[in-house]
Symmetry: C2
Subunit: 339 residues, 2 copies
């Protein structure tokens, strides 16, 4: 079996570490591995299949001869992404820089795998909240059509990286001990609070996070007429995003039918047994690769409607797992870069 | 000015304490005050305007000669409510027992104050999540009509009483110290988690809490055609419920117009200045009597739509404040019980 020269750019962060974990767990055919990051993290030791690797500072020359570069996100994507692609490396990018570029495929493997074949060097990994919603949405879309989606999110602090995690702990400790809380990463105290503000505010007073859920979903689903509105909220949960998703379908679908199509859809686990208090919760989905769906209910406030409660680990399926799945498709379709 | 003989039934609980606070803060014309509760709390001392009062066990005779009885909720309402009403006491009841009874007015003073006049001894105080939603909803209803509402809630643990509050603290401490968490009041760990399950499951797999938001809102608004769907979720916040409310209006209303009608509506405070990071958050609305509304945005996913983020202290406006406001209307309209 062929092996590939794989690198992670931004290896030392929360998503970088998960990329490394998922490459190992999925037994991706890694022939050679290179871990890169900013100079601040250079020299750090990380482990892959029991072997230590030293993180190098990302340089233009770092990409020479590599096959696939998984970018964890941030500024490095803008700085090195196009350069890496020009050198014949397939870039799988977790930042938002290229997602809406018409020349860059935006891929969720359960939804639009074939789009991988259209890449010109860069393939974008969607926003975490978008990925988590779009997987079950596609199952319903295929079964009953989708007219309109109203989504409200409950997003974990690890969406803001390792600093977000540390800040929730610091705020919770301070609040429990009656000490003053000093927000740094978040605009306000996040422990025992909710902040309806993720990423920057943009047109019509929607946040960038909210627009991502609208625009990226349309691109992934190849349906510009898909009506979507989103409200995104940070909650005091460490890991796994949750979403209350209301779907107006084109055709009638019962809760039982929805449960059936969802449970047969790849990457989805249905947890929906109210009598036994079974429904997805963020505390119990962390470290998992699937999207968990429960509270599946017909919505009679509209001719054909459905309510879903969707939970998934946003560092896994919402980021690292989806990126490695894209890398698997690149290998499967044989669409590596040309050198 | 006339003074009234007022009693609180269930005085020793979280809502009972707030009822006492609000009676004092609003300077309700209390001529005589009686505090009642179950035998378990009898003998407890509580303060009103600096004077100590001893909690008595609720007995049928407790109601003799009283004018107004504020019931904090629970089983006492079913047991003593009709009896108190038969004795000529106006019962203002915070339980769910009588809310959907066609002979019992269900009142939010900013929305349907005149319904107080129709009482036959019992006036019901709506569910906390319903009250918090229906106040801003009425402002929009009057300005642009309402076709459909999709609401997702983020509900504080104090909605489950003092035990809910203690359990969040206990779970948070245990989780931070790496100790095992033992849920009692909630079905699962609530600290650093979300539980999409409030009250019991009922028809169509909706919870009773979700049905309350549908059925009570229709009754309060006098509009049985109002289409509403709800998903209710417990979040690790001590106090104040938050709601993401999507409204499809009959007529077009801009965000600016919505901001205007909401800011002029009684009981509403608009906090909506994204450029200065101003939006309602549960941590900062506790102890307040108003409903805070922010993140006011037009929703273009439908012909005429609006998104609101609504936060309010569910022990105040969601319970005690609303009940005392009803008592004020009873006095204002002179519709006390007949003896």
């Amino acid at each position: 079996m062929a092996q590939y020269k794989v690198m992670i750019v931004g290896a030392s962060g929360a998503v970088g570490q998960e990329l490394l974990n998922v490459l190992e767990e999925k037994n991706f055919p890694v022939g050679e591995l290179k871990l890169c990051a900013t100079s601040r993290s250079a020299g750090k030791e990380m482990y892959f299949k029991g072997q230590p690797y030293v993180v190098e500072e990302t340089q233009p020359a770092s990409f020479d001869g590599m096959d696939i570069a998984l970018f964890a996100g941030g500024e490095a994507s803008k700085e090195f992404g196009p350069l890496a692609a020009a050198k014949g490396v397939v870039v799988i990018d977790n930042s938002s820089h290229f997602r809406l570029d018409p020349q860059v495929p935006l891929v969720v493997p359960e939804v639009n795998p074939e789009d991988v074949k259209l890449h010109r060097g860069i393939i974008a990994n969607p926003n975490c909240s978008t990925i988590i919603m779009v997987v079950p949405l596609k199952a319903i879309y295929d079964a009953a059509g989708v007219k309109r989606v109203v989504v409200s999110t409950y997003q974990a602090v690890s969406g803001a990286g390792a600093e977000g995690i540390e800040e929730l702990t610091a705020h919770a400790r301070a609040a429990l001990e009656g000490r003053a809380v000093t927000p740094a990463k978040f605009p306000y105290q996040i422990a025992f609070n909710l902040i309806p503000h993720i990423d920057v505010f943009q047109e019509m007073d929607y946040t960038k996070e909210e627009w991502k859920m609208v625009k990226e979903t349309r691109k992934i689903m190849h349906d510009d007429s898909l009506a979507i509105t989103a409200t995104t909220v940070r909650v005091p949960v460490y890991r796994s995003h949750s979403e209350s998703v209301n779907i107006e379908t084109e055709r009638k679908i019962t809760a039982a039918q929805a449960r059936d199509v969802l449970s047969r859809f790849p990457g989805v686990i249905v947890e929906d047994d109210p009598a036994h208090k079974k429904y997805p919760m963020p505390l119990f989905t962390s470290g998992r690769d699937e999207v968990f769906v429960g509270r599946i209910r017909e919505d009679n406030s509209v001719a054909q409607g459905l309510n879903l409660w969707v939970v998934s680990d946003q560092l896994r399926k919402g980021a690292a797992t989806n990126a490695v799945q894209i890398a698997e498709l690149v290998v499967k379709y044989g669409c590596l870069g040309k050198r």
